[in-house]
Symmetry: D2
Subunit: 137 residues, 4 copies
């Protein structure tokens, strides 16, 4: 049987583009997309019921891969959707899409990020906390 399941949506973060997000090309600067994705990631972290950062467990961003599909111009209202991907021992992949809030077919960017849980004292990776693993579904 060839069963496919849609990736689990972790968070939908609405973001309002600011004029200052644009650069000298009058498009939203590429580095600001990382800030949009960060906003979704942090909102998801914050939604985890047992906390997401402590003395002995904290996430770090290990990789961020972004494909820019369409320029964004101010004013614009967008949504960042973050989905659970492959889950490993101490890390997981989360994919994302940046779309227009009022026209969800308009895809501005898509990509994925790798998040690793570490012990902040040693900097070493640790097993994903159970409540994080549970939230990934």
């Amino acid at each position: 049987m060839n069963e496919t399941t849609a990736p689990k949506l972790l968070v939908r973060a609405p973001v309002t583009v600011r004029w200052g997000d644009m650069d000298a090309y009058t498009h939203v600067n590429n580095s600001v997309y990382a800030t949009y994705v960060e906003e979704a990631r942090l909102q998801w972290f914050r939604s985890l019921d047992a906390g997401w950062m402590g003395e002995d467990a904290a996430p770090i961003l290990a990789a961020l891969n972004t494909n820019f599909r369409k320029p964004i111009e101010w004013p614009a209202e967008i949504v960042v959707e973050m989905f659970a991907g492959r889950v490993g021992r101490s890390s997981f992949t989360a994919s994302f899409r940046i779309i227009n809030r009022h026209a969800p077919d308009v895809l501005y960017a898509e990509g994925d990020s790798v998040l690793v849980w570490i012990d902040p004292r040693s900097g070493k990776s640790i097993e994903l906390p159970p409540h994080v693993r549970a939230a990934l579904g």
Copy 2:
């Protein structure tokens, strides 16, 4: 007779604070307040019916004075209010307040800005365009 009139409200711009607006002190960085004020200014520019930037007339920010009253921490929803101040030949002063969107008594910052209209080709100041002067009331 000693009549005082409240300054004219030019724009109320809601802004949603982003996690990345914070700096290493875990408060919104002081430079980001300027971005919040800019967002209100640009929304007001955009509302001017005869356009706000052209080949022969454009505004520049000549001064920005900010008093920081209370730190802002993510997550937060704020509003930037911009008011008309003294109007001169080629420039005007606009004051601003940054408040909490859900608790308007919470004042995060206040200050004023000076905007000058120039001829972009010469860089020289020009008379305020009539529609700008009219919008200032």
Copy 3:
């Protein structure tokens, strides 16, 4: 006798303008000037021999007033000069100038900032630490 003394130079911080500092007007965005001034301020803080931030004493920026004199365009090398101003019980004023590193007569911006020392636990202002007061001359 009417003796005037030049304000004491606290720090000269060279800064290299980044392309991304520019906004849709292809000039350095006004909010980035605050980042340049911050860089000078933090370099000065860091030079204080007894440290500048601790459990019971830390500086906060209470005000920042900037006059924009001349647009900055990438690429550019600038210097931020910070000078001691009026010193009070718990606060002091520091003025600043942003100039061209290779043509010091080219003044991009000037202004002043107010720094207050607080007890981070209570948020209340405290007396300026003696080593800070000494550094102000």
Copy 4:
């Protein structure tokens, strides 16, 4: 025969980390790495003898993939190295490394970017201009 050639170094861009590049974790924020890479890219664009942006040919960033290897803390002096990768009809891949300026073995991040040349009027991809292709070696 198994001949390998080192990728061609396109540009080495020194960057000085600013205090404001750090976020609430007191490390340089992930989005700022994109700004560092952008600075190298723009310095390389600027070095192209026949110009890099015109009415009928301009580059856009189509993808940016970053692996974060080691946190950066202010103060720090870094270098962004950009290398030519695979060259196609209208695009090429450029890899990059962000290292410590004074300890080149310290690798902060590495990754690659995809640059596409377009006709800004139509938004359609065009053949890489000959002087760009030549510069890629």
